[in-house]
Amino acid sequence: MEQAVEHAHAGASTKIFLYVWFWLLGLTGVEVWLAYEHLAVKVMLTLLMSISVIKASLIIAYFMHLRYERRSLALTLMPALVFVVAMIMIFFFPDSLRLLHMRPR
């Protein structure tokens, strides 16, 4: 019974993996297209990074199998990463704008 379930799951997975692969390629195409649109840098950065986060989530969830693991694993790992990245962004990154304005013109 357990083996049958495992086989069924593995069969469905191969199909899902290819589906995810097509999505990842499609999103990459959208990113390249966006790069040649004349958008403001902030808008471009927001769009490209949002698409990259979606792509990363697809890779983590399906290729790295985190979606099928026990939820406690994701709840242990992901907050640590998000917290550190948020701390760097909040406390260090704004300083780059200060430096830009301090440069002699």
Binding site: W21, S52, M89, L100
Partner: protein
């Protein structure tokens, strides 16, 4: 729970046993995965923090510079890096197939899929080395750039160099795993763990490609 244990009834003893096995009470395997896989996940998170810091550092020096170059032409740079992205994403799919074959104990098939993944990794390295060569020919060095701030060279080579090092290490790692798994000296869990590393390398490139290349395309 402790109160039940004190009562000494058979039901209470069973409750205590269940509590000890519970994931949230520090049971034997709280995440229901092997120690190797958990170890790789912890490494990946720490490495993700390293790459995040580097990506933010790249953005930091870019924002803080008023003469950041836009050196990447559609041909060859953007075409080449788009092909590299395609190759890396495809190598992730071949790695998934290797893990699947490994779980079914089809050792020779798994080794072949890993070899296909390694081929993807090697193609990526060759294309990236060509990209580096073109930039070096144009005069970009670690602390020197022909188009504005010299910080571009330092930020670009550090970020892409660390990623390329990860890809190169991944190819050697996968080669070792494929050989030992085909000989029956490793388990399917080892293939899965090496797959986690490879997908992570793929994932990091999903941020480097837009941030470094697509945000610095030369429009003309």
């Amino acid at each position: 729970m402790a109160t039940h244990e004190l009562t000494g009834t058979p039901g209470a003893a069973l409750d205590a046993a269940v509590a000890r096995e519970s994931a949230w009470s520090g049971g034997g395997s709280p995440y229901a995965i092997g120690s190797k896989k958990l170890g790789m996940w912890l490494f990946i998170i720490s490495d993700a923090i390293t790459f995040s810091a580097l990506l933010i550092a790249y953005s930091y020096v870019r924002v803080a510079s008023n003469d950041w170059p836009m050196p990447f032409h559609f041909w060859p740079s953007i075409i080449k890096t788009t092909v590299m992205t395609f190759v890396l994403l495809t190598s992730s799919v071949t790695m998934v197939m290797a893990v699947h074959a490994g779980k079914l104990e089809r050792r020779a098939t798994a080794a072949k899929w890993i070899a296909a993944t390694m081929l993807g990794g090697l193609t990526f390295i060759v294309l990236h080395a060509l990209e580096w060569r073109d930039l070096i020919h144009e005069g970009v060095r670690l602390f020197q750039s022909p188009w504005g701030t010299p910080l571009f060279g330092a930020a670009f080579f550090t970020l892409t160099g660390l990623h390329m090092t990860h890809v190169a290490i991944g190819v050697v790692y996968l080669g070792t795993v494929a050989t030992l798994f085909a000989r029956g000296r490793l388990s399917s869990e080892d293939v899965e763990v090496s797959g986690l590393y490879w997908h992570f390398v793929d994932l990091v490139w999903m941020f480097i490609f837009p941030l470094v290349y697509l945000l610095s395309v030369r429009m003309s």
